[in-house]
Symmetry: C2
Subunit: 561 residues, 2 copies
């Protein structure tokens, strides 16, 4: 059964779902092309994602560029922290991620630093997996792709779509009429210069993501709504396993409301797109495993032939990102919380003295003044962050004034919960969980859900003869015009044609036979049951549309002739 | 009227269609974010494009990566030829495209080389447009963004999506059951490191494209189908203007069948998405203007406040790309043409002598042998292209053998026609062509076609009072569940709400009033006529769906209460 990888590889390549990019030039590791069926499968997954996570939630969509300026990624922390340790074989020159080589030898090798990795490589006698050669001392390797904009501006390809959302928070907050929670979603590419990607669609250097940043006022209750009773399979960082509802997980203090809410939604979504929910779990990151921006992260993992694989991450990013971008840009990215009734309070504010700041900081003086005058003074020396630099402000460069304000509310930095979906991995997981072979014939089948399936219907004449072929082509045109994706096939036996449809997951096949001429009916065959029902041609377009949209199911379809 | 630019800028930014990226970090020229309305407008354009140019034609979709290996772009010619001339101001340091500065001073400045540009800059006394400073001698500037994959593989961000299609021709040819014409389409990003982008969405460094490569057997007739009578506004490179049908243009020898066919389709498409066809023309490139891969190119231009702007290019790329990729990869990218009856013919073939090739070319010997044995020998010395190098093959490294073959067909390199769409420019053109102000009130309106409009319907209570608000929210839910994108608004006067809907192009507004309670009807107001019709709530979802899909139009809608 573990050769399911190879079987899926064979079908997907032969039928044009996806394949390694640039093969005529010897390939380029970590890049894949989606062909017609794969692109359509991906589109369908994303459409369902958008309907369920964006439209239904009333969230807003952003589409921001792949290329971003260096300063953005200094602010986000990626320029400093987004690295892996790499080792090189002294003999064949191949490179590897140090922690990957230690998997199975030590627990959580991703936690180790260079010294720790090196110690274990020596102790466990790890050699080059390709030629058995000696490995070099682990070196830090930066995972962002860098480029240059214009003549000389350093820039990176985004490692996540999230940063585009954070820096636009004020715009979206305004578009949302200054209400929280506010969800902003983005579908697009992410880029990571993986050291040695070798797992097909599971580890790509250029990949498809769908991310949501949900901005929350921590003082407001987050409602669990209709997912409260969804059952969650949890594995905590202490190694405890639970299968409890969303509501219970919150009550037991294992999950915050928003984390639990999105996990519930994820379970519903995965089931909708055809993932086997019995092979899903949420695993909490250990503290060492957490990304630099995260306070808590749970990976949604699915069981595949590769083992448990992360397909979605749900991270509690706290106020990390907005805070950093405020510091580095000097802009205010806060939300506003209205008090129930206005409050009076004394606060200390700063008045910048430009006659001191000006000569001292020249071009930066105005920016610094702006930052100072937006601060609330809490005593002591003042050090501010301007772009990448920490700047000490001398005492004589400002005055402290105490004022009493009557305030209707206060500004605060929202907390952020981020559900982040790896679309290529989800697509692959769907394929593995959909694949089976018929007990009788051994024929391959992908039991893709109708809404996910790239092609909804095959239209076949029973035999390739007139008048059946002409009639089938007429029906093809009617179905196509109604917007249901379908194709015509008259080559080989009808059994062979059903088999070809099955292996790319076509859920319904329509066959024109000799009865068709007499009473204007055709058969619809359902892929998994292989049952056939006879329906009127006049009703076929509507029936296929309802079946494809999963508004009716095949079992409940009346034969109506 | 020329301030339409500014007016559109104001509305699109305020309402969240699009804005300059990275503004909190001082911006990055040539990059824009699409907000919720812009992203949705773009999606709708692309959906219509896909329906009309891909599904209806039976073409196939590809989704290949943005990052590609250096060798690919050496083969495509971009590494060498994809450059512009740049000048720098000696005083303020700003950089400019040399040919852009000469526009209006000389005809077709893009044809000039460094010397020619320099001569004209001096003669016409061109100075820095920003500060009046002296300009430097023009220098070549490379327009591809470069990066590195893994540790040391040079790579580029694609300047067009087309190359991903060419190198996959054999896969698509097989998926298409070895039939031509074969169309392969790709929607995705393109990247060009423009020297000095300053025209909003019209000149982006990262842009949205939709391209089709149509592979053709030049010996087979290309059918004009149902576009034969579409009228084309043509401007030839000799400066002649025509307004003739697709069929006439072919008969007069101005256009080839496939070029004319796609121009006809483009006219229909542009009208469908709301471009004013009276402001469209096809302009043929002068010979000097042609890209390095093109035998003939016609730009589809629209008249905007910026002047005539190219939004689509239709290029005859001949066999340039497939041929180059065959040369550089050593792989066979040809199609097969079956003869009506098998032919006998004598041909000269080569037999490689490895005992000579081996010592001479070492690791390359096998590749060279393969190329030689696939050649038909036509006499003379042999020079082959292997990757980037021209290699002379000594006479003693092969034998020439004459054989008689009975051949059922022959292999040939298909010709390629490429319609290439600039989606951001098309989107902007739609906005300019849709914008108007009401004669009475001066209110702004975008007369977006229903299928293109990001939001199809606003649902309003006449006044913000019960029971109208609850009823309106109920209706919102029904409409949303039926899949029609809509929103609720109860703030301000009904007139103000209509105006807010108009300026983002919402075609239909549904109003719940005091009659609603009595007879379960609501009014639908059409944006441009401002006419209202009263319909039953029970019929509203279907009516809105038909109106949004443009399956019925508002004028023909019966009041049915």
């Amino acid at each position: 059964m573990n050769d399911i990888k190879l079987k899926i590889l064979e079908v997907t390549k032969r039928r044009g779902f996806y394949w390694k990019s640039y093969e005529i030039y010897g390939g380029l590791g970590g890049f894949y092309d989606y062909g017609p069926l794969g692109a359509s499968l991906k589109d369908n997954i994303l459409q369902l994602w958008k309907d369920y996570f964006v439209t239904k939630e009333g969230f807003l969509l952003l589409d921001s560029p792949n290329i971003g300026p260096e300063l953005l990624y200094i602010a986000s922390g990626h320029a400093e922290k987004f690295t892996d340790y790499m080792v090189k074989c002294k003999k064949c020159g191949h490179v590897f991620r140090a922690d990957e080589l230690l998997k199975g030898h030590v627990d959580n090798p991703e936690k180790l630093d260079a010294e720790g990795l090196w110690k274990n490589i020596k102790e466990k006698g790890i050699k080059c997996p390709d030629c058995g050669g000696e490995l070099t001392y682990p070196e830090k390797f930066h995972l962002m792709f860098s480029t240059r904009v214009g003549m000389d501006k350093n820039a990176f390809l985004r490692p996540e779509t999230a940063q585009g959302i954070f820096i636009n928070f004020p715009i979206f907050y305004r578009l949302n009429r200054e209400k929280l929670p506010l969800g902003v979603a983005q579908i697009g590419k992410g880029f990571r210069n993986e050291i040695s990607p070798r797992q097909g669609l599971l580890r790509l250097r250029e990949f498809n993501m769908a991310e949501i940043e949900v901005f929350i006022d921590p003082q407001e209750k987050f409602l669990l709504g209709d997912v409260r009773n969804i059952s969650l399979p949890l594995l905590t960082r202490e190694g405890k396993e639970y299968r409890i509802t969303v509501e219970q997980a919150v009550k037991m203090g294992i999950l915050s409301e928003p984390m639990a809410y999105f996990m519930g939604k994820i379970i519903i979504f995965l089931e909708k797109i055809g993932i086997d929910i019995k092979k899903v779990r949420f695993r909490q990151h250990s503290r060492e495993e957490l990304a630099h921006y995260s306070r808590d992260t749970w990976d949604c993992e699915v069981l595949l032939s590769y083992g448990w694989v992360e397909i979605i991450g749900i991270a509690d990013r706290g106020d990390y990102d907005l805070k950093r971008h405020m510091e580095y840009s000097g802009k205010d990215l806060r939300a506003f919380r209205r008090f129930k009734s206005p409050k009076k309070r004394k606060i200390k504010r700063l008045r910048a003295r430009m006659e001191i700041l000006g000569p001292l900081f020249k071009n930066d003086a105005r920016k610094i003044a702006e930052i100072l005058e937006n601060m609330e003074y809490e005593g002591g020396n003042i050090e501010i962050l301007l772009e990448d630099r920490k700047i000490k402000i001398p005492k004589n460069a400002y005055e402290v004034v105490e004022i009493e304000e009557s305030v209707g509310g206060e500004r605060f930095i929202p907390q952020v919960i981020e559900p982040s979906f790896g679309i290529d991995r989800i697509l692959y997981a769907i394929l593995e969980h959909s694949y089976y072979e018929r007990k009788d014939s051994g024929y391959k089948v992908l039991k893709l859900k109708p809404r996910v399936a790239p092609i909804k219907a095959g239209i076949f004449p029973l035999v390739s003869k007139e008048p059946l072929t002409t009639k089938a082509l007429e029906i093809l045109k009617i179905i196509r015009d109604s917007g249901v994706s379908c194709y015509y096939d008259d080559s080989g036996s009808i059994g062979r044609r059903y088999a070809r449809a099955d292996e790319i997951g076509v859920p319904f096949c329509v066959t024109v036979d000799y009865t068709t001429e007499k009473d204007n009916t055709v058969t619809i065959r359902e892929r998994d049951s292989t049952l056939q029902k006879r329906v009127r041609i006049s009703e076929l377009p509507e029936i296929l549309e309802l079946l494809s949209d999963e508004k009716i199911n095949f079992e409940s379809l009346d034969e109506n002739v």
